[in-house]
């Protein structure tokens, strides 16, 4: 079978309005002259956890930035909740942003604000709720992520795991329909990482969110994923459920799962050009 061919597994969630939550068509992205994503096609169903995995430099973080509208693609389209974000007007994007949440790898909490103020910021900016109501809503979300009582601390006073939980709390404070995670387990010990996986599953089950997780952590991936997209060198190798990915006979995927680097094609001429600075 062609290594780059797209394999898809039947999706398990039903579409509420006949549309996928996310539809990506022919998405390409460049950094300068270097192409990092090559004509990606992907659909993510409402209420599913899609894990995008791949090695370093596979393009998964770039794909996430495109999905949340931080970068514009050089070609293709991305539909989020029915809105083509590559063509959307600023006002449409502003409305859409209230329906999505993003938990960044390092938390990205505002260091000049307390944890509670961080959570209240989206509410303050996008709603006309009274201050005590906002505070109650923010404290409820801290409760959900297991950080009750930590609202008055500054982000610098939190541990790595707590920072990520606080970031999740901020991401869900507006009750979004869709949640994006960038490397949620990176830098965490296995126990804290597992707790964070449980939290992601809880959010999916309790709030029926569509969740997209970008990670290279295999254990987390197999624990939380409904479906997995395997990226390699900016191309989709496979879209399948956990068993499908585990059972894949694709050499690159086998290497990724067994954490080996064998099988990677080495272009000797390109390597020499890089060494001599002629690349």
């Amino acid at each position: 079978m062609d290594m780059l061919s797209l394999q898809t597994a039947p999706t398990r969630k039903s579409r509420a309005n006949g549309q996928p939550a996310i539809r990506i068509e022919g998405l390409s992205a460049h950094y300068g002259e270097r192409q990092v994503l090559h004509e990606i096609d992907l659909e993510i169903e409402p209420g599913e956890i899609m894990v995008i995995m791949g090695g370093s430099g596979s393009g998964k973080s770039t794909l996430l930035r495109q999905l949340v509208g931080l970068d514009l693609p050089s070609a293709g389209r991305i539909e989020l909740l029915g809105l083509d974000i590559t063509q959307a007007r600023a006002a449409e994007m502003a409305k859409l942003r209230r329906r999505i949440g993003v938990a960044f790898q390092g938390g990205a909490l505002f260091s000049s604000m307390t944890v509670l103020e961080n959570l209240m910021l989206p509410l303050r900016e996008h709603t006309k709720l009274a201050l005590p109501t906002m505070e109650i809503m923010a404290r409820m979300k801290l409760e959900v992520v297991g950080l009750a009582g930590f609202g008055d601390l500054m982000p610098s006073e939190l541990s790595g795991g707590m920072l990520k939980r606080a970031a999740v709390a901020r991401a869900i404070v507006m009750d979004p329909e869709m949640l994006f995670f960038d490397e949620p387990s990176a830098g965490l010990d296995p126990v804290v990482s597992s707790e964070l996986d449980d939290l992601i599953l809880l959010l999916r089950d309790a709030m029926n969110m569509t969740i997209v997780v970008v990670t290279h952590e295999l254990e987390s991936t197999f624990k939380i994923a409904d479906r997995i997209t395997v990226l390699d060198d900016g191309r989709i190798l496979l879209v399948d459920d956990v068993e499908g990915v585990r059972g894949s006979d694709n050499a690159r995927i086998r290497n990724l799962l067994s954490r080996r680097s064998e099988g990677a094609e080495i272009d000797a001429e390109a390597y020499l050009r890089r060494l001599t600075g002629d690349a």
Partner: protein
């Protein structure tokens, strides 16, 4: 030779790009200040007042010390140099005009570039590197409206106020040197100085300070927004912001003086 030309070309292209970015940041800040409320994203007054406290009120002690020192230094130099020609009585006119039109706006602008410009650049750099700016964008908050417009407005309001304060302090400090040297009363010094100065001189000095304030805010924001590469990147862009701000202030001062003295 070719490599030198290439380096110069790249630097020019980068400089033009940064100038364009600065213009866009300024235009966007003005846009959010004027139309933010109608778009449901007003520039928050508490944020502006917070910045005004930092860049204005908290700078008062150091601004006072610098202005007093400059005023006394100018008085000493004026009395000495005019004394060579037996023209000490013109010292008050020289000091008054120099302080109001040149020294007060310049010294305050340089102080603000070092104190507030560096703080702004460091804050934005750190936020860029920690993805806090990305977080603002995905939350649906314009980073320019949230991070750039408040300090821009605060600087444009507070720098002329600080300049006015510096004028008063510098002229008062100069009086303590001039009055005993010329054997005149404080009242005579004040009346002579006020007689020499016109409203145009004040407009000249304060008008310049508004331009300097905008330059410091925008240059610092541009450098902060271009930060890359961790703590080292923050340090590099903070230094760059201060150096570029001071250079821009001095060049703008020269251009302003040239244009203002033509009419």
């Amino acid at each position: 030779m070719l490599r030198t030309a290439e380096t110069i070309g790249r630097s020019v292209a980068r400089g033009v790009g940064e100038a364009g970015f600065a213009g866009a940041l300024f235009a966007e800040s003005v846009f959010w200040t004027m139309f933010g409320r109608t778009r449901g994203q007003p520039v928050r007054l508490p944020a502006i007042f917070g910045q005004m406290m930092q860049v204005g009120i908290q700078a008062l002690p150091i601004a006072t010390v610098l202005a007093a020192t400059i005023g006394m230094m100018l008085a000493i130099q004026s009395l000495y140099s005019l004394g060579l020609f037996g023209a000490e009585s013109f010292a008050m006119a020289g000091i008054g005009l120099a302080v109001v039109r040149e020294f007060a706006p310049l010294i305050i602008a340089i102080l603000i570039a070092g104190r507030s410009g560096s703080a702004l650049a460091a804050r934005l750099s750190t936020m860029m590197i920690n993805q806090e700016v990305d977080a603002l964008r995905v939350i649906g908050i314009s980073p320019v409206r949230f991070l750039v417009a408040p300090p821009l407005i605060a600087l444009i309001v507070m720098v002329p106020c600080l300049t006015m304060w510096a004028i008063v302090v510098a002229l008062t400090a100069a009086a303590f040197i001039v009055t005993p040297a010329l054997g005149i009363s404080l009242a005579a010094y004040a009346s002579e100085t006020i007689a020499v100065l016109s409203v145009n001189d004040l407009i000249h000095g304060l008008g310049k300070s508004v331009i300097f304030a905008a330059l410091v805010a925008i240059i610092s924001s541009v450098n902060g927004a271009l930060a890359k590469g961790g703590a080292e990147g923050v340090g590099r862009m903070t230094t760059r912001a201060v150096v570029q701000s001071i250079a821009a202030i001095i060049v703008a001062d020269m251009i302003f003086a040239f244009i203002a003295t033509r009419g």
